[in-house]
Amino acid sequence: MHVALLTAYAVVTLLFLAVASTTLVWMLHAWQTPDAFEETRFPAGGMASGRSFSLIVPARHEEAVLGATLDRLAALRHDRFEVLAVVGHDDPGTAEVARAAAERHPERVRVLVDANWPKNKPKALNTALPECRGDVVGVFDAEDQVHPDLLGRVSEAFDATGAHIVQGAVQLMNYRDRWYSVRNCLEYFFWFRSRLHFHAGRHFVPLGGNTVFISAPLLHAAGGWDPECLAEDCELGARLTGMGARVAVAYDPELATREETPASLSELARQRSRWNQGFLQVLRKGDWRRLPRRERALAWFTLSQPFLQAFTGLVMPLSIGSILFLRAPVGLALISFAPLLITLTMLGVEVAGLREFCRLYGRRPRLLDYARLVIGTFPYQLMLAYAAIRAAWRHVRGRREWEKTAHVGAHLEPQEAT
């Protein structure tokens, strides 16, 4: 075969290998040793800690779930906190539900109306920010199921770590609903249980969209969220860590905020492409360039990862197929299988992850769940690739509008949903 072609093969294979192995190593970060694992938990409870919280809940067309969420938030076990529900001026249904909740909990819940147009989440958050009176600003989504003791533990985490930002865990729960649900749930599991801790150690953290707690003075000084960014959470993380803010990440299964997977595959793809497009915006905006060299490389790699992964997922089968088709020398063919080997190892790790997820959350995994996990690998990869390409396409075309994910409450226990 031609030398140039062989070189190209080698480069592509090395790229695949780098993407696959770093993904594998980072997704397992929290389990490196049992000691390291213990350090990923919230600091032990019991300390008296008096921070006050302002919890912002942006809601748009969420009348089905918002009322219950606000009730649960108002019932959190903490002395000093307020809940700020932000509704759109064009969304009377949700506003109605929010106001009813505010009447039920006048001392806790306030309703703010966001008049911005077009609407998106960062604008809603910025609407609420000037009204926040707490030491710490927290964000929750309208369908979130929050643990009653979370605020106390977060407050202690601030004390124990001296961090400016505490990122708690979010976990999708309804892993049996659709064929892709189990993969989606596991993505969250590996991300919050493990990967984010790696980022915290490396001082570059793409923050999550909720259960994130930020020191209020810092957030005020930074001017809040970027109103035009589709991944406002990640953008804020990149911006604040670039300015030297420290992030603590903590995980306890019982304290994780519970959510649901998108109700259809197209919803999931749209959500993912919104995040990916947001990542591209953050990449272009360049706040991460202020980080020191190693963190900068990590930031670049993290923000590009959806696209690298999509590329890998699409091209790896082609590469292996063509190398077989072209009857390449056996040694070269074996080497071209190396990234696949790592990918399959990752599948083995995901199987263990499903077992661990079910153990931690008291579920009993069935054979069907494992089967969906394994068989769904390639179709899910195709969906991710589609989302990445769609995101890049929209980015190039300059389409920035917010595509909202609908919520039906599938993650709630039956008695809560009714």
Binding site: W31, G162, P217, L218, L240, M243, V330, L341, L347, E356
Partner: protein, 558 residues
């Protein structure tokens, strides 16, 4: 004030001591981290210039007793193993085969000097080829197998260190761990078999590495992953290592923490299975997975190893070949294996020694079963025998009955002294023999004779012991039709078994001028009729050594 300046000021103002502070203490340039206190020199490890150096320093400081003991043990082991290692045992055919296969890889990129037929996975001689590459130019070993044996001195030293690490990591006292290494290095069986260029020795080193890794004291996830890789490498060196993977997996399960176990086991298992199956993939890519007309295949290779290989009978049948093999081992040394057999059951009961005892028990059970029993089988027994015996001694030492607490130590000391008195004299005699006698002299002389008396246009039938030396020193090599590399010097098996060689020599033995008849050739001649004919139609022109070990150079008379 800009948002950035405001945030930066906020962040700076409440920066806490030690939290997220920038990196480790900076190095002090030009300062040697040694200072003088009174008459003593103190090495200040915290002032070493790099974090990795500091970590290495702390590690060495924490383990200095083990390091000192191990250094002494390794020097001793290296001395006993290395002294006279070219002369004892005499070269035997398999050693020549592996160095020749390594040579074929090195010079022709081929997996064998004849057609590769999936007899063993090829990774073992890839390591030998790597060593040949590295040692070319400066190494002056007397022959190709001797050059290979130098690598196996290194493998022995690494294996000794691994035995020590395993012993420490399963919780044996330093002295017991040292005892395990001494048994592993000084037992005459070990001196005999560890010197040989065999795939078993390479595979066992990787198995021991896997064992040491899964016993990681901090239960590191990536140590379990690396252990999976080591197990795969071991099996790709010699499929026999598959027997010892279950005990390694058991040790992994035993040593992993409940909180991280799922992932430790997943990585270990996935990497082992996936890397191991690269061998299958290799066969698939070559179109040689399944048996078919006119080509070699993995299926045939496995079928041969598992089913078609002639059984050597049961070790309980006094006339069987297996019994002869067993007796061959016991003639060299019966003490270590005997003690290990006795200690296996108690070692299986004690939790800490259970995994290594399991490794021994599985192999002993396989030994009891009638089937093909190669002499090299003992290689897999030795490290675990040493560990089980040392582990039993350690358990006795720790045994403190409430009334007489000194009983355990007293019994342990008595046992050790008795063992030393019983095993010492025969081991010293046997090891001295292995360090001083040149059993390879007949073969070396035969090699020299052929090199100086046989015309380089002659055709020579020989075993693999000197095949490569003849090629490299006189006859040269070239690629032949069908995938072999000399039409002057031919490995005698192939004249009967390799179709490409048969095509090249349609006259069979009549196309040859000389046949080198070694003990091994004579022992296997019933399986290779062409060589039988060559021996029958030839006369001795030179003869070296006496009795069954003699080597004859015979001129073929057509």
């Amino acid at each position: 004030m800009s948002p950035e300046a405001a945030v930066t000021r906020l962040v700076r103002d409440d920066r806490l001591e030690g939290v997220g502070a920038a990196g480790p203490t900076p190095p002090i340039p030009g300062l040697v981290p040694v200072r003088r206190r009174g008459r003593r020199l103190i090495v200040d490890l915290d002032r070493l210039p790099y974090a990795s150096l500091r970590r290495a320093g702390w590690w060495a400081a924490a383990h200095w007793q083990s390091l000192a003991l191990l250094t002494v043990l390794l020097v001793g082991a290296g001395f006993v193993h290395g002294t006279g290692m070219f002369g004892w045992p005499a070269r035997f055919d398999d050693e020549g085969t592996y160095v020749s296969q390594a040579w074929a890889l090195e010079h022709y990129g081929a997996l064998s000097h004849y057609t590769y037929w999936y007899d063993h996975p090829p990774l073992g001689w890839m390591f030998i080829a790597l060593w040949r590459e590295l040692s070319t130019g400066w190494d002056d070993a007397p022959n190709a197998v001797a050059n290979g044996r130098e690598l196996f001195l290194g493998i022995q030293l690494v294996s000794c260190a691994l035995v020590y690490a395993i012993a420490r990591r399963i919780g044996l006292a330093r002295i017991a761990a040292g005892g395990a290494v001494a048994l592993f290095a000084l037992c005459p069986l070990a001196v005999e078999y560890h010197r040989m260029v065999t795939l078993d020795n390479i595979a066992m080193m990787w198995v021991l590495a896997a064992f040491a890794l899964v016993l990681t004291p901090r239960r590191r996830l990536w140590a379990f992953a690396a252990a999976g890789v080591c197990c795969a490498v071991a099996v790709l060196c010699k499929e026999y290592a598959l027997l010892i993977v279950p005990p390694v997996a058991y040790a992994a399960w035993q040593n992993s923490d409940r909180r991280t176990r799922s992932f430790c086991v997943a990585l270990f298992g996935s990497l082992f299975v996936l890397l191991g199956s690269m061998y299958l993939l290799f066969a698939v890519l070559k179109g040689e997975l399944l048996a078919g007309g006119g080509h070699v295949s993995l299926e045939d290779g496995i079928r041969f190893q598992l089913l078609e290989r002639a059984s050597s009978g049961s070790i309980f049948d006094p006339r069987s070949l297996s019994r002869q093999t067993l007796n061959g081992w016991l003639d060299v040394d019966r003490l270590l294996l005997g003690a290990a057999v006795v200690a296996t059951l108690p070692a299986l009961i004690v939790r800490r020694t259970r995994a290594v005892a399991l490794a021994l028990a599985i192999q002993l059970a396989m030994l009891m079963r009638p089937g093909y029993l190669p002499a090299l089988y003992v290689t897999g027994l030795l490290p675990f025998a040493a560990l089980v015996v040392a582990g039993a001694g350690d358990a006795v030492w720790r045994w403190r009955p409430s009334r007489v607490a000194v009983l355990g130590p007293a019994v342990a000391i008595a046992l050790t002294v008795t063992a030393g008195a019983v095993a010492g004299p025969p081991w010293v005699a046997a090891d001295r023999q292995r360090m001083t006698v040149d059993a390879d002299a007949p073969m070396s002389q035969a090699q020299q004779w052929v090199l100086s008396h046989v015309d380089r246009r002659s055709h020579v039938l020989t075993d693999n012991n000197i095949w490569l030396d003849l090629i490299e020193r006189k006859f040269g090599s070239s690629r032949q039709a069908g995938g072999f590399y000399s039409d002057r010097v031919v490995w005698y098996w192939k004249l009967d078994l390799d179709p490409a060689v048969k095509r090249r020599f349609p006259g069979g033995w009549r196309d040859f001028d000389y046949v080198v008849s070694s003990e091994y050739v004579r022992a296997t001649v019933a399986l290779v009729p062409q060589t039988g004919e060559a021996l029958r139609h030839s006369r001795i022109v030179a003869r070296f050594g006496q009795g069954p070990h003699r080597v004859e150079i015979r001129r073929i008379v057509r």
